[in-house]
């Protein structure tokens, strides 16, 4: 099954974005509806274009919530979240979804893939929601680009691309997820503890491949991890306690 292009009218990235931070968060407060005990407050947080940033912090420190804000899936009650110079608050929900499809690649901790799609279709999935990203990936030749990415990530065996994603090992699945996040050269790759389910050896190999491909694409990498020992591989390591404060939930004061 090949997945087709579907979404039109992706919000354009402002020209000034080339010099602006890839991510700029300022004066943000966010509380999950119905979760009275949790609200995240971020005074200032920025990621430079092409920067590799590691966010560390314990569970409950708001790492995943911050990633949700960066991806435009959730909106803060107050403050501003700008990605590539675009303030998410100025976009409609549909436009934010299209923006995310076009400019962001996401890797989860585990269970990254749709089990009922083949490896190739999983990699091509974001292109179905982002025509210009499909164009970036080679248009009709996107499948070849996906195979190239898979090969670079060590999944070159001919049968792998056509296999169902659920049949792969966890390590292989994470590499497929990386290929999906990287296809079409998104400007920002967001990774939520992508190595936590991997053993040490697989972890290193995965990060080697991820860093190489992010560098090749010139993308910014925002990765969340408990593991501070990974920090030496990043341009910058930021603890969640440095950028955000977890406050009691409820309406913004």
């Amino acid at each position: 099954m090949s997945l087709a292009v579907a979404a039109p009218d992706v919000p354009a990235v402002p020209a000034a974005a080339a010099t602006a931070p890839a991510v700029a968060v300022a004066g943000v407060r966010f509380a999950w509806p119905g979760h009275a005990g949790f609200a995240l407050e971020i005074e200032r947080f920025e990621v430079a274009p092409g920067e590799r940033l590691l966010l560390t912090g314990p569970s409950g420190s708001g790492k995943s919530t911050l990633l949700g804000l960066l991806c435009g899936i959730i909106l803060p009650a107050r403050g501003r979240v700008e990605v590539l110079g675009t303030d998410f608050a100025t976009l409609s929900g549909a436009a934010r979804d299209r923006f995310r499809a076009a400019h962001l690649g996401v890797i989860f901790q585990m269970f990254n893939l749709l089990p009922y799609l083949s490896v190739l279709d999983n990699v091509l999935l974001p292109l179905s929601f982002a025509p210009e990203r499909r164009a970036e990936a080679g248009g009709a030749a996107a499948a070849a680009e996906a195979r190239r990415l898979l090969a670079r990530l060590g999944l070159e065996a001919d049968g792998v691309a056509r296999q169902h994603a659920a049949r792969l090992s966890v390590g292989q699945q994470q590499r497929v997820a990386a290929a999906r996040a990287l296809i079409g050269a998104p400007a920002i790759v967001v990774a939520d503890e992508p190595t936590s389910a991997l053993d040490r050896g697989t972890q290193q190999a995965f990060l080697d491949l991820l860093f190489a491909e992010v560098a090749r694409a010139g993308a910014s990498l925002v990765m969340v991890s408990h593991d501070v020992t990974l920090g030496r591989r990043f341009d910058r390591v930021v603890g969640m306690d440095e950028v955000a404060r977890v406050a009691p939930g409820g309406p913004a004061p």
Binding site: L3, L67, D97, R100, V106, F111, P115, S128, A130
Partner: protein, 419 residues
């Protein structure tokens, strides 16, 4: 398009559950269409049973009752028509032909009909088709019998075989007219009507086997042999009813009024089409109830489908989060679930049609033989297609409930499954 492809792949991944759901819908759809098919088949069979007869005359009773016993061999007459009255009606100038019917006896569960050769000449069924002889010929001898196709095949009779008529209706414990056996002189071709399940004898033969009977029992000591009765005057005293063909249909109401106002005895003349319509009005309630039950069965299957989709939602929240992360909108999530429901309903409807036609092909001969109900196997008509479309539409509607839940969850979860 992407949503449809994802829905197909998702269903293929859960193929066992999907197949069971499709099967449940298919069975309900087959039932829904089957009930309608049987309803139409029954109506067509009834309507096809009599054709070209303008009036049916019998003792005064309900129109439907007269139609049922005279044509469909269902139920009994409350009284007879005297031969004098019959002859008077037969002599009316409006009458082109008249065929007497005498009922009341049976043979091994099949009704015996006393009539004349005119029956084979004038009786018409299914768009004016005349009765045809598969073997043999009409009555040549007093004790000749002509069998309907089902009687011959069910009882294994061939031409020349002797048969004994029993007095009264039923299949056991009846007094037999065994002193005057009949001989199979003809076997009619299959008609798909009650004619197939009837033993036809001459009107005189009915009189002959009853010459030594009074009020339903043989008169002790008054035995008349078969040879003796041949020499007797066998003019019937009465008949049960009569089929009448008119020179002009315009005269139907005139003759009907004559019969209904006949001074000699209480008679009734009915128009077969009008009586049939009255019958449909009577059974309409039962048909509606049966239709409603089959609709409820479909609704239950579709609700089961919605429940199945709903039950899997929690384990699919991760899938929704992945879709959202790669740029899918909440409406894509909604569309995915609705598309899955629609595809299941569509597959169920398609399989239901296949099941129905397979069942029709397999069971039609049995239903025809046992119930005299001929069910046509023809392509789905506009009404059936509309029903199938309604099932698919209802499936889409049923899918909205879990889809809306998934939509809400995907909004709440974002990229993280929140519990």
């Amino acid at each position: 398009m992407i949503v449809l492809r994802l829905a197909l792949a998702s269903l293929a991944n859960r193929r066992v559950t999907a197949l069971l759901t499709v099967l449940a819908i298919a069975v309900s759809v087959a039932l829904l269409l089957g009930v309608e098919k049987v309803r139409q088949g029954a109506r067509a069979s009834f309507a096809d049973t009599i054709s070209g007869t303008d009036l049916i005359v019998g003792a005064r009773s309900g129109d439907v009752q007269l139609l049922l016993y005279a044509v469909f061999r269902i139920g009994n007459a409350t009284a007879n028509v005297t031969w004098k009255s019959y002859e008077e009606i037969a002599a009316r100038p409006e009458v082109a032909w008249i065929v007497p019917l005498s009922l009341g006896d049976s043979h091994r569960g099949f009704r015996v009909l006393g009539t004349t050769d005119g029956y084979f000449e004038h009786y018409r069924y299914r768009h004016g088709q005349a009765l045809a002889f598969a073997q043999g010929r009409p009555f040549a001898d007093l004790f000749d019998a002509v069998l309907g196709a089902d009687v011959a095949s069910a009882l294994g009779y061939r031409l020349g075989d002797p048969i004994v008529v029993a007095h009264g209706l039923g299949s056991a414990g009846l007094a037999q007219h065994d002193d005057k056996p009949f001989r199979v002189a003809g076997i009619l071709a299959k008609t798909g009507t009650p004619v197939d399940r009837t033993v036809h004898v001459s009107l005189e033969a009915i009189e002959a086997i009853h010459v030594d009977w009074r009020t339903g029992a043989r008169v002790p000591g008054v035995g008349a042999s078969a040879e003796e009765v041949r020499r007797m005057d066998l003019t019937p005293r009465a008949v049960t009813s009569a089929l009448v063909g008119l020179r002009s249909r315009l005269a139907a109401f005139k003759l009907q009024r004559f019969v209904n106002e006949y001074p000699g005895e209480a008679l009734s003349a009915i128009l077969p089409g009008a009586a049939l319509q009255e019958l449909w009005d009577l059974v309409g309630v039962a048909e509606t109830a049966l239709g409603a039950v089959s609709v409820m069965v479909v609704a239950t299957a579709l609700l089961g489908m919605a429940t199945t989709i709903l039950a899997t939602l929690n384990e699919r929240r991760r899938e929704m989060a992945i879709l959202r992360a790669v740029g899918a909108r909440p409406t894509h999530v909604l569309g995915l679930l609705v598309a899955e429901a629609g595809l299941l309903a569509l597959a169920g409807a398609a399989l239901g049609v296949v099941l129905l036609y397979a069942a029709l092909a397999a069971l039609r001969p049995v239903i025809d033989a046992r119930f005299g109900l001929y069910l046509a196997i023809d392509p789905p008509g506009a009404d059936e297609l509309a029903r199938l479309a309604a099932v698919v539409a209802a499936g889409l509607l049923a899918g909205i409930m879990p889809a809306w839940r998934a939509y809400r969850l995907s909004l709440a979860d974002g990229m993280t499954v929140r519990t």
